[in-house]
């Protein structure tokens, strides 16, 4: 009777399957990076979150320190309330900056935390006071056009020739707006 060889093969087969799934989870997927340790939640309000999605990474100095939890709309302030689940191992001062960045030119959006100088740390349920909105491409372009229109230079200039000022607009405009 060759039942034992069949059992052996099926055993090997199932073991391979489990190993493949484990490999996918550990080596390919982010099971190890997301589900490790406990997290604490802080909130941040943004006027515009752009294309930020739940489960987007929260990074500080380029290191993933947490994930975006919920994104809600606050109808009294007309702002987006984003909850950030941050790994307990990492502590941030209460005056930390939360910015929405884009990875690469067209990449996904994530939240970057920049530590401030306070001695006290953020705790569960705290709110991050200093935030900076996502860069919205349409807004930027319209601002650029508005600036161009107010300049003394001829308006009808071909767009291809205006690469330089285009660059200026991209880097300068949104940040200036916010700081002022």
């Amino acid at each position: 009777m060759n039942r034992t060889t069949i059992d052996l093969w099926v055993g090997v087969f199932v073991a391979l399957g489990v190993a493949a799934l484990l490999g996918l989870a550990m080596k390919v997927g982010n099971l190890t990076t997301t589900n490790i340790g406990k997290t604490y939640t802080v909130n941040a309000a943004f006027e515009n979150i752009g294309g930020l999605k739940p489960r987007a990474p929260v990074k500080s100095a380029g290191v993933v320190v947490g994930r975006v939890g919920d994104i809600k709309f606050d109808s009294s302030t007309y702002e987006a309330i984003v909850s950030l689940n941050i790994d307990e191992h990492y502590q941030f001062p209460t005056d930390t900056f939360a910015n929405i960045y884009t990875a690469g030119l067209l990449g996904e959006q994530y939240i970057g935390l920049e530590a401030g100088g306070e001695l006290e740390s953020l705790k569960e349920g705290d709110k991050i006071a200093h935030t900076q909105d996502a860069v919205v491409l349409e807004k930027m372009i319209s601002q650029f056009l508005y600036n161009k229109a107010s300049e003394p230079a001829p308006v009808n200039e071909a767009p291809a020739e205006s690469t330089k000022s285009d660059d200026d607009a991209l880097t300068a405009n949104p940040l200036d707006d916010l700081i002022n």
Binding site: F13, G17, G23, V28, T33, P57
Partner: protein, 265 residues
């Protein structure tokens, strides 16, 4: 004139009776499915019956699945690299290979190969058992063929396909790695870290597994029904085998679209 009219009428009548035939088969297949679910107790009380079928559907498909996965992974890496390097983001090749395999190609290609390798074998086996009166003999021995023949094969298929799909994805990624890292020269660290940062356990991997379970149910059930429903002749069995491949492939692709549209938010 009347001849053309007769021809058109005949074609319409054919179409109609074909359609009714398909509906009838859908109903009969659904009935077999529920009969099978109800009489599955035997399969779990005597799990050896299922193990034996896992061997003939799963283990016997290992070679074709592994080899195809390896090549699919290598081709993905080659093609992906060609496009990605134009945008200067060739390190993203790991993400591309992994996401394509885990989300789509792993479950779908595995299911298609499974339909061709294991599905046809199931249909032919059951069709022949019917043609040689083995199923009748079982019935006359007061043993239900649905619980003794159909149910163990069903559960074996549902167990085997997700395992095969997971292996497909893993081997495909290794194939992609071999092309991307040693052959093309992408940085190994970037390959894996980009992959890990962008492949989500719940949204990508678990969804892929869910897909492969659904495909396992569909492919195995179609193969079983075609065999069970085959006319008990050599011609009937060979036609049923062809139908298994056609129906399973269409079902897998259609189900893939439906599932993907539910899974993508």
């Amino acid at each position: 004139m009347t001849k053309i009219f007769d021809g058109v009428l005949g074609a319409l009548r054919n179409l109609g009776s074909n359609f009714i035939d398909q509906i009838w088969r859908l109903g009969a297949g659904t009935r077999l499915f529920f009969d099978m679910l109800i009489s599955s107790g035997e399969s779990f009380r005597r799990f050896r019956l299922v193990v034996k079928e896992v061997y003939s559907t799963g283990v016997m498909s290992l070679v074709i699945i592994s080899v195809s996965a390896f090549f699919v992974g290598m081709v993905l890496a080659l093609q992906g690299y060609n496009t990605l390097q134009k945008y200067g983001s060739s390190e993203a090749i790991g993400v591309l290979v992994a996401l394509a395999l885990v989300r789509e190609l792993g479950p779908v290609v595995t299911a298609l190969l499974f339909a061709g390798r294991a599905g046809t074998a199931i249909t032919a086996e059951i069709g022949l058992m019917k043609a040689t009166e083995q199923l009748s003999a079982m019935e006359m021995m007061a043993v239900s063929p649905v619980s003794r023949v159909v149910a163990p094969r069903f559960w074996a298929g549902v167990i085997a396909l997700p395992i095969l799909a997971a292996l497909f994805s893993m081997i495909g990624i290794l194939g992609g790695y071999i092309v991307a890292v040693p052959l093309i020269g992408v940085d190994a660290g970037a390959f894996w870290s980009q992959m890990q940062a962008n492949v989500d356990w719940r949204l990508d991997i678990v969804n892929g597994v869910i897909k492969s379970v659904v495909f396992g149910v569909a492919c195995t059930m179609i193969a079983l029904f075609e065999g069970y429903d085959a006319p008990p002749t050599a011609e009937g069995v060979s036609r049923a085998t062809t139908r298994t491949v056609v129906t399973s492939s269409l079902a897998v692709l259609a189900l893939d679209f439906a599932l993907t549209s539910f899974m993508i938010e």
